[in-house]
């Protein structure tokens, strides 16, 4: 099958995408246990906890939202929790934007459903595959759906066994996103050598993280790094 005449969409690609994400599975289950424990503690039913994994499917925002979870809700509280989710998940706007140059020719009916369940792991694996010259849309679809299903599955033992991981901090599970992102960043840097945007983004993000509350530093740093790359014309470019 072909999504367009320029970007392939193959079953082999789907399988490759899923395989690329296998290394994330243990981390997802650990994080799932940490969030499951919190969900159980905050009075979510097993069904609600699974539903949240399935339709929100963004671990960091789920964790922050569960921290402020309550027994009684008003519309204001619902709005507040949605606002927090928006702030923590703002990075998805940028991840989506970064996929456009690759996936532009792919039909919307294929791209948007895959983007709907995009996670950091799937994005990281796909963008690395693309940075290494791969173009099969199946890799994005496969990695996204695979990790989406993984995250839902992780909710099952997570909710029931979560009590065993009462202190995720002790195992550095609060740093899991640092570890997975660093592990993905290294090979991309090795290949692209984009040290200038890296430095600009990192410095701005660190500064903003001390100046502004919440998760604004991710968007601020990332945009600064991208702007630096856009306006710093490399030698030989028009």
């Amino acid at each position: 099958m072909s999504a367009t005449n320029t970007i392939p969409f193959t079953l082999a690609g789907v399988r490759h995408g899923a395989l690329l994400c296998v290394p994330f599975v243990p981390g997802y289950f650990l994080f799932g246990a940490a969030i499951g424990a919190l969900a159980a503690q905050k009075g979510l039913t097993f069904g609600e906890a699974l539903l949240m994994n399935a339709i929100v499917c963004a671990a960091a925002s789920q964790m922050v939202a569960l921290e402020m979870w309550r027994a009684d809700w008003t519309w204001m509280h619902v709005l507040a929790v949605a606002g927090v989710a928006a702030m923590v998940n703002l990075r998805f706007v940028l991840s989506g934007a970064s996929l456009r140059p690759w996936l532009s020719p792919v039909r919307a009916g294929f791209v948007y459903p895959a983007l709907g369940v995009l996670t950091d792991g799937a994005w990281a694996a796909s963008i690395r595959y693309n940075a290494e010259g791969g173009r099969d849309f199946g890799v994005l679809a496969g990695s996204s759906v695979f990790l989406w299903l993984t995250w839902i599955s992780a909710g099952v033992p997570g909710y029931w066994l979560g009590a065993l991981v009462t202190n995720p901090h002790a195992f550095g599970l609060d740093l899991l996103i640092v570890f997975t992102f660093t592990a993905t960043l290294v090979p991309i840097l090795k290949r692209t050598r984009q040290f200038m945007p890296l430095a600009v983004s990192g410095l701005v993000a660190v500064a903003v993280s001390y100046l502004a509350p919440g998760y604004w530093f991710i968007a601020a740093g990332a945009i600064a790094g991208a702007l630096a790359a856009a306006f710093w014309t490399p030698k030989g470019a028009p």
């Binding site: 994330f24 039913t45 609600e48 949240m52 339709i55 499917c57 963004a58 789920q62 979870w69 009684d72 809700w73 008003t74 519309w75 619902v78 949605a82 989710a85 928006a86 998940n89 703002l90 998805f92 706007v93 940028l94 991840s95 989506g96 934007a97 970064s98 996929l99 456009r100 140059p101 532009s104 791209v111 983007l115 709907g116 901090h169 195992f171 550095g172 740093l175 640092v178 570890f179 992102f181 660093t182 592990a183 993905t184 290294v186 090979p187 991309i188 984009q194 945007p197 890296l198 600009v200 983004s201 990192g202 993000a205 991710i218 740093g221 990332a222 790094g225 991208a226 790359a229 028009p238």
Partner: protein
């Protein structure tokens, strides 16, 4: 606006889901509606590295000694081995060790 909601849990989960979905498709959608100049393309190409750096650095610094040590351990393991699973295990081991020492 201040009345108590029946099924508040479900409204909250649904609201989070809708907002997150809009963000997931929004960036991709917007970039398709502006002309892709050479400059914009260079910016987009740098975006992945920029997002990684902007997330990793502050979170590692704020993670305390465990973050300062485990972050570089992950980077070094990944650089030398090229295996994510190994890098992840090294990171968790290093962080557990540092935190276990009481830092």
């Amino acid at each position: 606006m201040s009345g108590e909601l029946h099924n508040g849990h479900l409204y909250a989960i649904a609201a989070m889901a809708v907002v997150t979905l809009l963000l997931r498709i929004g960036g991709y959608w917007i970039i398709g509606r502006v002309p892709l100049t050479a400059r914009l393309r260079r910016g987009l190409e740098a975006l992945p590295v920029a997002i990684f750096a902007a997330s990793v650095l502050p979170l590692a610094i704020k993670g305390g000694p465990a973050g300062w040590i485990a972050g570089p351990v992950v980077a070094a393991t990944m650089y030398l081995s090229g295996k994510e699973i190994l890098a992840l295990a090294a990171g968790i081991a290093a962080a557990s060790f540092v935190r276990g020492m009481g830092f």
